[in-house]
Chain length 153, copies 5
């Protein structure tokens, strides 16, 4: 059975991992391993360990704040997550929702929920539906909002 | 037979991999391996895997958005792609088209198409025509627009 | 017995390691190993060595200045700390307090003390209470200030 | 016989490698290995391969554009070149000329020529004249323009 | 006998390595190994090699210019120096003096001299006086200027 690792934070203000878990369970039969860390900078080693302990793919959930220093932290976290992937040859789908992507709490929660759900679908495709992903290449998909769609010529 | 790996995204709004594939096929006989991932941050490990599975060179296609956060993501992706190259000793030709490089959809599509085609030529040269590349050194080539040409003295 | 490594600097203007040490001792029985280096850029190798010498987790304390160049140094240090974690598969909880997070010395000292204490609790949880952390996922915890709490929908 | 690897790009608008080659040949007897790649992001793996194939030192020539995105690309390339050096324990002398360092084509060409020549001298010193370099420590040398000289006290 | 590696540049406008050497010799009996490279980007591999050849700790001296591009180069150099440390498990004390830290040549020279001297003391402490460093934790030390001191509460 395929295994998916979920790494999330106590800093985030929305429980994205539960949304992703539910979505994954509705799509396929996978084992789930879930780890929670304080903040996004703690995600890279957590994702690495999940992959090394046998997960086939991981998801890393985070909710960076709106300030320049928060963007800097998100940059460090993302860079570390990419390094974790290169060390293992496995994907870590990053599900980051920046606080300044929405104008109020309600909108931010909806965005986080939707992005988590749609990236769970991506994980399902990376595991079981690679052909489907290939057909979606260059089609302007967006996670957590309306798709941009392919360019109109 | 030489093998070229193509890694692209569902986020991009133009199917650059197909353009490159067609161009490569018109220039030489190569095997093609194609993987699609959600976004540009997923490209480094995808390119790494393609190279590790036997591809001699890879192309990574992406279309970063126009916002500062998008530039940051592109930076992380590019840094990861360079690391993937250093891990394997093989080239990954990055074909990124930034949304703010063109003023409308039509122009952006034309730029993406042309850049993909010209970088496919570069891949062909890296594989089979290293001498030709050496003769082009310092001549101000541009992919997806008019060449800048050598400096006039 | 679990062991915690503490790495801090002579540059910082508050002795956060002592606060963390006291908090850890009040929560559990752990061995402590403490190293002091000049500045935050010296923390990554110090944390790495602590982990390699047998510490199960490390804390890295720093107090970056308010200027752009200070943010750049903090970025380098954080990136290095993440790399140290990926090299060992162990957590390094970063406890950085930026000088511009408070308006005067008194407030800054209080922030540093509180953040050190709350991150010591996080270290305790990472070592002994992983389930507790999982229950706190997505609840908007903040170290050194009032929690943001979960998003109101 | 010592060997020097030269990596340059088709993007650059001046053939700096030829200048460096000529200068090196006038100073000493070295073997030269020359590779041309499309752009500066392709330089790190090219330099790495040159060093791994037996070159004792490498030079990497590039001419980044004037826009913020060009600075970002140069940053990625430089970071990769430093990594290539750390992987091999050998020097890669970076010879980058930024388009905005000069006000017109003629001045830019002169700068590129002079910088390539002076860095070729540095390569010669790194290979054969380490004592000479040590005597120049802290003397404010500049490649491609008048030396700044030591600080006047 | 402990050995200290010194890596500096011909770009810098002050001979900081000599100051550090003198200070180290006055404090303890150590072997010194000194390498000079063109610029700060050449320091990481130089420091790495010094450490690999048996130095117990290294110092890296540089004097970045005042422009944004200079800050970017300093960032690359510092990141590489941190990586060199992580690769060896040894400290490289970075002694960078930014040209815009002082208002004229005289002040800059004094700053460079003082910073080199005080960081030489740090190297001495890292080698022989770790307890002394631990007592200085969180006391607001500054190299090359008046100490900030601990926060007043």
């Amino acid at each position: 059975m395929a295994r998916v690792g979920l790494a999330d934070t106590t800093f985030a203000r929305f429980d994205m991992a539960s949304v992703a878990k539910k979505e994954l369970k509705s799509l396929c039969s996978v084992g789930i391993k879930h780890r929670t860390v304080p903040g996004i900078k703690d995600l890279p080693v957590s994702a690495l360990n999940l992959l090394r302990e046998g997960c086939d793919v991981a998801m890393a959930f985070g909710m960076p704040g709106p300030e320049p220093i928060d963007k800097q932290c998100a940059d460090q976290a993302s860079t570390g997550l990419i390094r974790a992937q290169l060390m293992t040859g496995k994907h870590v789908v990053e599900v980051f929702v920046h606080e300044d992507e929405a104008s109020d709490d309600k909108e931010l929660a909806e965005l986080a929920e939707e992005r988590a759900r749609e990236h769970a679908k991506n994980v399902y495709r990376l595991l079981f539906k690679k052909d489907e992903l290939r057909k979606m290449a260059g089609t302007g998909k967006r996670e957590g909002g309306p798709d941009a769609g392919p360019l109109r010529r």
